[in-house]
Symmetry: C2
Subunit: 321 residues, 2 copies
């Protein structure tokens, strides 16, 4: 290789490390050759040596096209970059199988660890076995009960509880909940907070107001439209995330003039055009980038498993239109 610079590989190595004992002159010669040939150390070979890591971190998210996960990844990378580590990113689209493949691949690449937003479902034996065989794993956004792996989540229950109380205090009783889903931690917790608030105020949760199994924005929109056409439709909606809220919002806007005067909505996750909403929107906002940073920091700290909970903030949209 750069031996064409007249020295041994060992000298090249030393020159590149700077610390070693090399004449200023030979060092110059080596660096010149390096520049000329555009040489760069083979990190894979490097990581092969005992005591060296790959400096790679595997990250899986369920949907990178959701800006929340985009922000999350930025936060992760921000922290990791300061430690010279890089991100291998995998998008699972909520597929357990894909998640498994990705984690197996991460293991093969000798990643220092993995940050995982677990896909929907309960079969998390692969995460268990990964952790068991020594891979550091941090779960983010969604935790998994019974899996003793570090995780960082939001105050999902409390946020949902508080926002629901706000709705109730505004006089709502028929409140729809959109986005319940078995096997998705955030959906379950947020529903639990919602239901608890209802129960604490003596309001029963009507089953037909609870929308689950809806996927895309369009589908939510159609479902809510259907609900509006029935008698005694909800006077308020709680959406478990930004995608669901978009569907509800679109349905409500179309129905705008037939809705009750006090029609209101809760959106878990912030919402870019909230200030344009003709209805009051109670927003449960949080900082996904901070969650990314936290997950990365937890991965780097080699302490024991721990669970961290990040705060959420309840905010009322200020109508500006």
């Amino acid at each position: 290789m750069a031996l064409k610079a007249g020295v041994s590989t060992m000298t090249v190595s030393r020159a590149l490390h700077d610390n070693g004992n090399v004449t200023e002159e030979t060092k110059e010669r080596v660096l010149a050759a390096v520049r000329e040939l555009g040489y760069s150390r083979n990190e894979n070979a490097r990581s092969l040596r005992p005591g060296h890591s790959s400096n790679l971190i595997g990250v899986t998210v369920t949907d990178i096209s959701n800006p929340y996960y985009g922000e999350f990844v930025i936060g992760v990378e921000e922290v990791l970059a300061q430690h010279g580590k890089r991100v291998i990113l995998g998008n699972t689209s909520e597929s357990q199988e894909r998640e498994e493949q990705l984690l197996a691949d991460f293991a093969g690449r000798q990643v220092d660890g993995a940050i995982v937003v677990p896909a929907a479902g309960t079969e998390h034996t692969h995460l268990r076995s990964m952790a068991d065989r020594g891979m550091r794993v941090v779960l983010a956004s969604r935790s998994i009960d019974g899996l003793d792996v570090s995780s960082v989540v939001l105050a999902d229950f409390q946020g949902a509880y508080d926002a629901t109380v706000e709705l109730i205090r505004s006089g709502h009783e028929r409140i729809g909940f959109v986005g319940w889903a078995e096997g998705i931690y955030t959906a379950v917790k947020r529903y639990a907070g919602f239901a608890q608030a209802m129960s604490d105020h003596g309001i029963p949760v009507e089953e037909r107001y609870v929308i689950d199994r809806v996927q895309g924005v369009e589908e939510v929109e159609k479902t809510i439209q259907g609900l509006f056409e029935q008698p005694k439709s909800p006077t308020a909606f709680f959406s478990a995330n930004n995608r669901h809220h978009m569907g509800v919002f679109r349905a409500a806007l179309q129905r705008r003039h037939e809705l009750p005067d006090n029609f209101a909505m809760v959106s878990f996750d912030d919402f870019e055009l909230s200030s344009l909403s003709p209805f009051p929107v109670i927003i449960v906002s949080h900082d996904p980038r901070e969650m990314g940073r936290t997950a990365a920091e937890m991965l780097l700290e080699s302490g024991r498993e721990e669970q961290r909970v990040l705060p959420v903030h309840i905010r009322r949209s200020v109508r500006r239109v």
Copy 2:
């Protein structure tokens, strides 16, 4: 390692490859040990061997929190996954320096190639040298004049031209352009298309209607508000991308009742709540996921450098509120 299964490493290798000559029985024994120990091949060591690649592809984007780039990355990964390749993702935040670091790192990790959405600026000597020293590079979304590297871009000029003509045909003459930026390919091309359409229709482009150097949504919003307060403010706006459009949209909505009846906007990039806009919105829409797929395919095909242009579609928002 898995020699604890009673055989040599060679036999393990053969058992894992399946093809080799191994007794069904020993193979079983090896696979059992593999399962038990949770062993997985070291891909880094593997890639060290002659003729083997790392199966890693470096990808840099300017802002992964923009859902367009999220979709883009999904498209990239979709194609690469079919070839057993993984993505190392880096977010540049439009920083040349960061882009350089990332590409240098990619080189060190022996990536098979890199897909780059170049950061703003003209100093692309590092891309040049990467390509020169044999790294396959595909530029996406933004091309770089004079750099003979493959690229996939949108029909930026034509899309901007056509959309502008639509505005002009609706009777607009005072049209603002938001998002010009030196050194950003898409901004330059889209502005060129806009300016050409204006010129072809004998309408001069007023300098004070051309907004540049604006970054975030808030900043755009404020700037446009300022413009509205001046006499003879634009009766229509062309936004060079989804972020800019959001700022313009918000400013316009606040000013809603003082704007001319035919106030209209062009948004390059689709726009989730376009159907709610009280003003007509002409949308230049396109498919970022398809761009990701294309970029990945171009990287994998080892042909000569080529430039591909993906189509855009002009669409009028259907007002549904």
